[in-house]
Amino acid sequence: MNAPLIIFFVLAAMAVVGALSLILQRHPIHSALSLIVVMVALAGLYLLMGAEFVAAVQIIVYGGAIMVLFVFVIMLLNAGVEERTNLSKLAGFAGIPLAVALTGFLAAAVARSRLRTGRIAVRRHRSHQSARQSALPGFRLPFRTHFLPDSRRYFGRDCTRRPPG
C-alpha cells in the first residue's frame, strides 16, 4: 500500500458514501451537500491522476457554480423534509436491484474491455513531482475508460506534443 493508493481509496470511499448519502438523506440541503462531497472527491481523484486542470475546473464549475445554484434554489423555495409516500417506498424495491445490476454490468464491461493503459509523460514541475509520478501509471485506466476515448489529445500537458506519425 503506497500513499497514492491509500489516497485513492479514501477519495473513492468519500465519493461512494457521498453518493449514497445523496439518495438516502431526507432533506434537500443535506442531499445537495452530499453531492458537493462527491464533486470534491472526484476532483481529488483527477488530481491523483495528474489532471490538475480538470480537477480545478471540476471544483470551480460543479462544486462552485452549479451546486451553489442548487443550494440557492433550495433555500429560496424553502424546501422542507421529503415526505415518503407509498409509491416512493415502492421505488426502493425496484431501484436497488436495478442499481446493483447496472453496477455489475458496467464493471463486467470494463473488466472485459481489456483496455491497455499507456503512460503519459509528466512534465517536471517544482512541486509534488514524486507524488504525481508515482501516482500516474496506476490510475490512468479509469480516467481513459470513463472520461474520453482519447484523453491524451484533450487534456493535460500532451496537448503541446504531436502524436507520432
Binding site: H27, I29, H30, L33, I36, V40, A43, E52, F53, A55, A56, V57, I59, I60, G63, G64, A65, V68, L69, V71, F72, M75, L76, H125, R126, S127
Partner: protein, 411 residues
Amino acid sequence: VNDFVAQHAEILISLVKIAILLFVVLTVNAYLTWFERKVVAHIQSRWGPHRVGPHGLLQPLADGLKFLFKEDPTPAGVDRFVYYLAPLLALALALTSIAVIPFGPNPIHFKGHDIYLGIADLNIGILALFAITALGVYGIALAGWSSNSKYPLLGGLRSSAQMISYELALTMSVVGVLLMAGKFSLRDIIDAQASAHGLFGWGGIFHWNILAGPFPQILGFLCFFVAAVAETNRVPFDLPEAESELVAGFHTEYASFKFAMFFIAEYTSMITVSCLCSILFFGGWLSPFPASWTFTTYLPSVLLIPFGLWVIWDGMRYETIFGKLILPGAGAVITALGAVFLIFPAVNEFIQGPFWLLSKIFVFLFVYVWMRGTLPRFRYDQLMSFGWKLLLPVSLANVVITASALLWSSR
C-alpha cells in the same frame, strides 16, 4: 529521530511553514481589526480604541479572550450538523487559500534544502485559489440557512446570489493577466511581469501588468478589485450582513468563537484578495523603481529606522507606565531591524521582494478600510445591475481587447 527527520524533510518543512504562516496570518488578522477601527475612527474624527494597552494595541488580545469566554448558546430548531459545519467551512477554506500565495522570490538555504516563502507553488495556482473561493460561498449560505431564523436566511440568500454574480466578473477580469503571462502559477505570473515589455521601454513600475504592454490591465484591475470586494462581503457590498437591514445577516445566530471564525474568515479573505491584487496586477515582489536605481534597496531601512525612533520618542512621553515600558521596547526592535538590513547586504537583498509585496498588500488593506470609512452600502437592485450590466461586459471587453492586442503585437 535523525533518520526520521532526514526521510520526511519535505513534509516536516511544509508543516513548519504551515504553522508559521497560520500564526502570522492570525496575528495579522487580529491587528487588522485594530488597524481598521483606528483608521475608520480617524476618518470619522474619533480616537478609536485607546484604553487597552498603549494606543489600544492590546485590544485584539482582549477581543480574542472575549470571543473565547463568551457563552455559546445553540438556538432552538437549528440544523445542528450544518450549523456547526458552516463556520468551520468558512474558516478552513479562507485559510487554505493563502497557502497558494508565494511571498518572496528567493529561497532560504537550510541544510541542503531550498525553502521557498510560500507553502504550495502549484502550477495551477490561481485556478486552485478560485476553486477554494468558489467553495467559500457555502460557509455563508449554509450559516444563513441552518440558523432557522429569518434574518440569517435573507443574508444567506443575498450572499449566494451576490457571489454567483460577482464570481463571473472576478474570473473573467483575471483572464487578461493570464493571457499576458501564459501561466497559471502565481510565481510564473510575477516572473512574466519581470521580463515584460515596459511601456515606452521604461523599467520598474512600467513592467507591472497594470501598466505594461501590449494592453495595460487597468480595466481588468478595476473589475477584479470591485468583484473581489464583493466576494469578501465588505463595504460597499456588505448586504449579506447589513446591520441596519438584517441585524447581522448570516451570522446573527452565531455567538462566541463560532462568530469569531466567520470574522477571521472574512479578514483572511481580505488579505488573500490584497495578495492577489498585488501579484496579478502590481508586480508582486517587483520593485516599482528601475533596477539601475540601486539606492532604493535601502528603502526598508530608511523607513524602518525613523519609524522605530518615532515609536521610542512617542513611548517616552506616553501617559501610562505600561506604555512607557512597551512602546520604547517595540521601537527599539523596529530600529534594530532597520539597522540589521543596513548592515548585512545579504539580508537586505533577501528582504527586498517580501518588503515590496508586503507594502503593496498593506496599501490594498488600507484601501479596504478606506472604502469602509467612505462609501455607503449598495441597494440590492443596484448591486445586481452593477455586477451583470457593467462589470461582466467590461471584463469581457477587456479579455477581447487584450487578446487582440497580444495577437497584433506578436505579428
